[in-house]
Subunit: 209 residues, 4 copies
C-alpha cells in the first residue's frame, strides 16, 4: 500500500503565506476599484466635480472600513502562521477556505456600499467578518491539536490569540445588532472597533484586545 | 560555440512558485469578482434585496466549486514543487502552460455560471480541469526523467502523486459524463469530489485519493 | 494576566514586504487597465485607429506619471524596510495605511485623466502623493523611536532618508501650486521631478534628491 | 554632506523579483479576463453557444500568444536576475520601466484582438515586444558595467544572454514586417517563434535561440 497523499501535501507554511499575501493584496486593491470616477461629460467645473465626489464619500468610508478589516485579519493570520513549525493538508485547507471568505469581501463591501440603509446588506457583511473569526479560531485550535505550533509558543500566547478572537467577534456582533436601530449606528460602531485595533492601545481594558 | 540558453534559463523553483502563487491569488479573487451586486435603483426593501441575492445563489455555488478546484490544484502543484531540487527551462514551460490553463478558469467558470443547463459549458469546464491534470502529470514525469526530483522523494511518493492524478481525473470524467442526464448531476458530483479532497479522509478507500 | 497581543503581532518584515509587493504590482497593472481599447465598429482603417489612439495619448502620459510615482514610493518603502531588524504591530499598521493610500492611486489617476483641466482633480492627486510622503516619514520616525532600525543604519542614512522626503514633497507641493496657472504646468513639472528621481543624477544639487 | 540616496536605495534583488512576479502574474491573468462570456439571453442551445465560442477563437489565439510572450520575457528577466549579486537604484529603475512595458501588454493585446486586420495594431504590439528586448538588453549591459553580475557568470553566459536577445528581436522584427502582406502572416510567424522558444530545441540552429 502506498503513502497517503495527506502525509506529503500542503506542508509549506511559506507558500501558504505567499498565496495569502497575494490574495489579500488583490482583494485590498479591488475594493477601491469599485470607486467609479464620475462621468466626465456632465461635469465641467470644479464645483460640479466636488459635488460628484461628495456623493462618493460614504463609499470611501465603507472601503476604508473594509481595508481596515482585511488589514486586521491579515495581521491575525500572519501572527498565527508565524508561530507554526509547518503546515499540513488540513490546515492548508482551513486557510484556503479562509481565503475564499476573504475573496468575498469586495462583494460584501460593494453590497453594503450600494444598500447602506438595508439590514440585509449589513448582516451579510457581518457574516463575512464572522466567518473570518470562526476560520482563524478553527485554524488555531487545529494547529495546536495537530502539534504544528512551535513548542516555544506557550500557553500565554495561546490564550492571547483566542481571547482576541472572542473579544473582537463579540464587538462585531454587538455592532451588527445595532442595525435594529440603524445601519449607520452599526457602521459607526464597527469603524470605532477597527480604529481601536489599528491604534492598539497599550494600557487599560482596550489593551486586552 | 556559446552555452545554450537552455542550460542557464529557468532554474529557480522559488521564482516559479512565486509566480504561481501570484497567478493563483489573482485567479481566485477574480472568480468572485464576477458576482455582480444587484442594481440599487430597483431595490429598496430587505425583501427585494434577499430575492435578488437568492438569484445569485447558484453562481455562488459555481464560484465556490471553482475556488475549491483552484485550491486542489494549487496544493497539487505545491506538493510537486516542494520535492524538486531545481527547475529547468522545460519544466518551467510546462508550469507556465499549466498557469495559462489556470488563468482560463475565471472564463470557464463564468461560462458555466451563465449557461448552467448547457452541456457545452460544462464540458469546456471539465476540459479545463482535465488540462490541469494532464499538465501536472506531464510535469511530474518530466521532472523524474530529467532528475530534478529530490533523491529522497522515493518511489512511494512517486506512486502517490501519480495515483492521485489518475483517481481524481477518473472521477472528474465520470462527473462530466453525468451531463448526459443533467448538468446539475455533473455539478453536484464534482462538488462532492472536491469536498472529499478538501476534507481528506484518513481511512477507507477515500484515503487513497 | 495574559500577554498583550501587541507584543506578538505583526513582527515579520518579510510578510509586510510581500504584501506590499503584491499590492504595488496590482495597483501598477490596474493603472493601465483603464486605457480602454477604442470601440471597433466605428473604426475600419489604420488612419481611424491612429486618430483614436492619439486621443488616448494624454491618458497614457498620466498613467506613465502614476507608474513612476508608484515606482518612486516602492523604492522608498523598500529602502526603509531593508534597514529594519523587525517590524511591530504599530509599524505594520502605518504601512497598511500607506498601502491603503497606494490602493487609491488608480482612482486618483483615473480622476485626473478624466478631468485633466480641473484643479480639484489635480489637487486630489497631489493629496494622494502627499499622503505617501507623510506616511513614509511617520514610518521612519516611528521605526527609529521603537528601535526597529538596524544598529548599523547610521545617522547618515537617517538624514538621507528624511531629507529625500522633505525635498521631494516640497517639489510636489510646488508642482501642485502651479495649477494656479494651469493644470498642464503642474503635470509637466511633476513629470520632470519624477524623471529626475528615475534617472537619479550623481552630481550637483540634484544628487541630494 | 550626507550620503547620497542612490547608494542605499533599491539594493534588493529579492524584492525586485517579488514585484516582478506579482506584476507578471496580474498581467497574465488580466489578458484572459478580456475574453468576454457571450450574453446569455440570446443563446439557449448548445449549437448557439458553440457558434458564439467559435467567434471567440481568434481572440483566444491572440491571448495565448501574449501569454507565451510574457512567459518568454519572464524567463529572460528571471535568468538575468538570478545572475546578479545585488541590485542598485539604476538597475531597479531599468526593471521598473521594463515592468511598465509589461503592464501595457494587456492593452496591446486587446488592441490587436479587436483590430486583427489593421497594421497599426500589429505594429504597436510589436513595439511593445521590442521595448521588452531593448530594456532587458540595457539592463544586462548596465549590470555588467556596474559590476552587479556574479563573478562566476562568465563571458560564455554573457554572450548567450545577449545573442538570445539579438536573434529573438530579429525574428520578431521579421514577423512584424510580414504585415506588409497580411497581419495574419505576422501573427502566424510570431506564434511559430514563440513555440520554438517554448519547446527550446536542443540541437541544430534553433538551439542557439
Amino acid at each position: 500500500m502506498g503513502t497517503r497523499y495527506n502525509v506529503i501535501a500542503g506542508q509549506s507554511v511559506e507558500r501558504l503565506a505567499a498565496l495569502s499575501d497575494g490574495l489579500f493584496a488583490v482583494a485590498m486593491t479591488l475594493l477601491v476599484l469599485d470607486l467609479k470616477v464620475p462621468a466626465s461629460h456632465a461635469i465641467t467645473t470644479d464645483q460640479a466635480l466636488l459635488a460628484a465626489l461628495r456623493e462618493l464619500a460614504p463609499r470611501l468610508v465603507v472601503y476604508l472600513m473594509s481595508f481596515l478589516t482585511l488589514g486586521i485579519f491579515w495581521v491575525g493570520q500572519q501572527t498565527q502562521l508565524s508561530h507554526l513549525v509547518r503546515s499540513d493538508r488540513h490546515l492548508t485547507w482551513i486557510h484556503l477556505i479562509f481565503l475564499f471568505a476573504i475573496s468575498l469581501m469586495p462583494f460584501s463591501t460593494s453590497l453594503m456600499a450600494e444598500f447602506i440603509t438595508l439590514r440585509t446588506a449589513l448582516l451579510l457583511y457581518w457574516l463575512n467578518i464572522f466567518a473570518f473569526g470562526v476560520l482563524l479560531f478553527v485554524s488555531w485550535r487545529y494547529a495546536r491539536h495537530a502539534q504544528l505550533v512551535q513548542p516555544d509558543a506557550t500557553a500565554v500566547i495561546d490564550r492571547s490569540v483566542e481571547r482576541r478572537i472572542y473579544i473582537a467577534q463579540a464587538l462585531y456582533a454587538f455592532g451588527a445588532a445595532l442595525c435594529l436601530f440603524s445601519t449607520y449606528w452599526s457602521i459607526g460602531f464597527i469603524i470605532l472597533v477597527q480604529l481601536i485595533y489599528v491604534v492598539g492601545p497599550r494600557t487599560g481594558i482596550l489593551s486586552r484586545m
